[in-house]
């Protein structure tokens, strides 16, 4: 006569729960292997901070949000001379220009400083798949109008810079003023 199903499973479980011993040298082998690696040197607070900094985050960006970020980049670019505006030889200063153009295949920086020639200052993606495009240009003191040319056809003013009022071409453009040193 067979035992009831529950009793059968209980018997199986009872047998499987019996202690299993392993080779007594296992602990020593583990510690020998572990000893080959550098000791951890991470404090609790530093570890928590590092985890917070390196934690993957998902960011959803609306077009408006993208423009806001572009503006923030541009503000940083124009406002922080230590990073985006460096003193160059012969009184020139290097200026960084940043724009967000997720769908663009090419972006050019055009303005008074390069005779509005789209071929002279092509912008570079900040990363392989990045939406952010950048260009760094040495400029002498003066006032310059400029714009971004997307895919060779779309003109885009810099959302982070003042708009140029004297725009004789009828396309949006911005103004940057480079001070003397």
């Amino acid at each position: 006569m067979f035992e009831p199903d529950e009793e059968l499973i209980a018997r199986v479980v009872q047998q499987l729960r019996r202690p299993v011993t392993v080779d007594s040298g296992l602990d020593a082998r583990v510690m020998a292997q572990v000893g080959r690696f550098p000791a951890h040197r991470v404090g609790g607070t530093a570890r928590a901070a590092w985890r917070w900094l390196t934690r993957p985050r998902m960011v959803r960006l609306s077009p408006l949000g993208g423009l806001a970020i572009a503006a923030a980049f541009a503000i940083v670019a124009l406002a922080r001379p230590d990073r985006y505006s460096r003193t160059a030889p012969a009184g020139e200063r290097e200026f960084g220009f940043v724009v967000v153009a997720p769908r663009a295949a090419t972006v050019s920086l055009v303005g008074d400083f390069n005779d509005w020639d789209a071929a002279r200052t092509p912008m570079q993606r900040a990363g392989k798949q990045a939406s952010v495009w950048t260009a760094v240009l040495p400029l002498t003191p003066g006032r310059y109008r400029y714009a971004f040319l997307v895919d060779g056809v779309s003109w885009l003013a810099d959302p982070a810079a003042p708009a140029a009022r004297d725009d004789e071409f009828g396309t949006p453009s911005s103004v940057v003023t480079v001070g003397g040193s």
Binding site: V12, L16, P19, V20, T21, V22, D23, L26, M31
Partner: protein, 185 residues
């Protein structure tokens, strides 16, 4: 029961190890060795493979200890690493064609009338267990032998709670069928 640390000392030991006291890791190895060994031996059906998976799990856990978000749950985290190592080792063993090898050393502890009866009974249980698919065997062992809650099992295995419940149910049904057939022979 679940996978709980012993008191709160896992937290202290993990902090010591992360602070540079590598030798303190031996405490964690000794604390979890036997319980994890039981799972590995039953899961892989082979002592040699089980010890390899266990050793590998402990070393991997040490190397990535900084990624243990909650040291109070070190045991559960370690279990997850071992479950993955057993999957890898089991798949490799299956490719080698080794499905089940009787494990003499696992047959300790006499609770039956004789060693012969117990050995035979446990052999049959291990043989039946080895006939389950790895997914069913894993779920059955974690639920009924290691006494984990389904939520804990889900964290350890990466499977959903519903899927795990189904696997445990099927594992029980199949074990009953296999063992009934064995009794008839």
């Amino acid at each position: 029961m679940g996978i709980h640390s012993v008191g709160t000392s896992d937290v202290d030991v993990v902090r010591r190890v992360l602070g540079g006291d590598t030798a303190a890791y031996a405490t964690l190895v000794a604390r979890y060795r036997d319980r994890l060994a039981r799972y590995a031996v039953h899961m892989l059906g082979n002592r040699e493979d089980a010890e390899e998976a266990l050793q590998d799990a402990f070393v991997r856990a040490y190397r990535s200890l900084e990624r243990c978000d909650d040291p109070a749950r070190f045991g559960a985290w370690l279990y997850g690493i071992l479950v993955n190592r057993c999957r890898t080792t089991g798949a490799r063993a299956a490719r080698r064609g080794r499905v089940f090898v009787r494990d003499e050393a696992a047959l300790n502890g006499v609770a039956h009338a004789s060693v012969a009866e117990q050995t035979e009974g446990e052999d049959v249980v291990c043989w039946a267990l080895a006939r389950l698919t790895p997914e069913y065997r894993e779920a059955f062992l974690l639920k009924h032998v290691e006494d984990l809650e389904y939520e804990e099992m889900a964290r350890v295995t990466g499977a959903g709670v519903s899927a795990l419940k189904m696997r445990v149910k099927r594992a029980r049904e199949q074990l009953q069928v296999i063992l009934r057939e064995a009794e008839r022979v």
